[in-house]
Amino acid sequence: MIGSVGAWLSDPANWQGPEGIVARLNEHLAYSLLAVLIAGLIAFPLGVFIGHTGKGTFIVAGTANALRALPTLGLLILLVLTIANAMPAALTYRVPAMIVLVLLGIPPILSGTYAGVANVDPAVRDAAYGMGMTSGVVAWRVEVPVAVPLIIGGVRSALLQVIATTTVIAYVSLGGFGRYVIDGLKQQDYPQMAGGSVLVAVLAIVVDVLMAGVQRLTSPGRPLRAPRGQLRRQPASG
């Protein structure tokens, strides 16, 4: 059985064309990276604001807990059925999928940014104020740079979560590696399903290792663990 999966993966015909592995990899990465980018645009400023001002900390824990319990597949299909009719045909499935992926990407980046900014050594913050910096300058020039390793850690968890869940969007006819799982099941073609699964797993591990490297580069002599009370990232769904 493992041999037939290897044969599927090593067949050059499976790598080329609009349904080939290279094209599916591009789709998978495009959906995942766009979703994490949008999630970052929302979560990063919010996390800096909450961490800097201490206002609205309940949002950080609240979103993480609520989204952990929410079934992604259900949300995706619900959005497809309810808002797809209001969309131009090309976006029918893409917009609901993007909403779900962005929602998943927000909590890790939000909690990473919040934790990084809120846990800046008070002495550092006081020194910055003592030098005459205004509140906004302290946040942007002092707290954010110090928080970078934890922010990268948040982006790392978000990427992992989103790459895993991008597999699921194949169920609503979109591309990415999930296609092989869904199509393989319909065609009773186990090597194709397993091959697709191997590809997603490898992609997730490679991205995680790369992000671990980035995290290490940005945190000289600093432990990589989040401060106590920050629970580890949740398992990647999808």
């Binding site: 319990a69 259900g74 299909i77 790459i163 398992p235 999808g238």
Partner: protein, 221 residues
């Protein structure tokens, strides 16, 4: 409200089926957490006691955690020689995730036991086993329970993904809704999943309070 009526209609037609799906869902979410805890305690203990095993064990569980669940559900039949629709695959996959999550939690929980406590147990003449089961493990329980809560709540939503490969559970309400072009079963499924997750969460909090009566009420994180 038409959505409400839709849900009522759906339950009248498929109530029994939904109930058995909910039962399967509860089993598929809860059993792996129990198995995972039983497996993770000795491994976590080794990671804590034998210093050099900590980094490799934690890295290994990190890699396991990185593998998307749908991929694991599909790959396990090839490894275990089971049928693709066999619920065993879901049990094994979620047990593996729970172990991966809890090994670190158990090791860090045991490390959080204050040294004075350990010394007093030693002074009272407890041997190694007694010290572990009567002192170290109970003191580490709050930390372990926090990990268990994360594991069980995420399992509830991970299980629903297994609907894509046809394993019976509440996630099938989503695929059914998609096929029938009806939101009622989907909303029902989402609400049922969230309620189930909250119930499991509450059960663990309650159990923690029962087994650690020395902690003041409401002190749990």
């Amino acid at each position: 409200m038409s959505l409400w009526n839709g849900i009522v209609d759906y339950l009248q037609l498929y109530g029994d089926k939904t109930l058995s799906q909910a039962g399967w869902h509860a089993l598929l979410s809860a059993v792996p957490v129990i198995l995972g805890l039983v497996i993770a305690i000795p491994i976590g203990w080794v990671a804590f006691r034998v210093r050099w095993t900590y980094p490799p064990l934690i890295s290994l569980s990190g890699v396991l955690y990185t593998i998307p669940s749908l991929a694991l559900f599909v790959l396990l039949p090839g490894i275990l020689h089971t049928q693709i629709l066999d619920p065993i695959n879901v049990f094994v996959a979620l047990t593996a995730y729970t172990v991966a999550l809890l090994v670190r939690v158990v090791a860090d929980g045991l490390a959080s036991v204050p040294d004075e406590v350990r010394q007093s147990a030693l002074a009272m003449g407890f041997n190694g086993w007694q010290r572990f089961f009567k002192v170290e493990l109970p003191v580490a329980l709050p930390v372990i329970a926090a990990g268990l809560r994360v594991a069980v709540v995420s399992n509830v939503s991970l299980v629903s993904v297994a609907a894509l490969i046809g394993v019976p559970q509440l996630g099938q309400l989503f695929t059914t809704g998609f096929q029938l072009d009806s939101t009622a079963p989907i909303v029902l499924g989402i609400v049922a999943c969230v309620v189930m997750a909250l119930c499991f969460d509450a059960i663990i909090l309650l159990l923690l309070r029962v087994v650690t009566p020395w902690r003041s009420a409401g002190a749990s994180r």
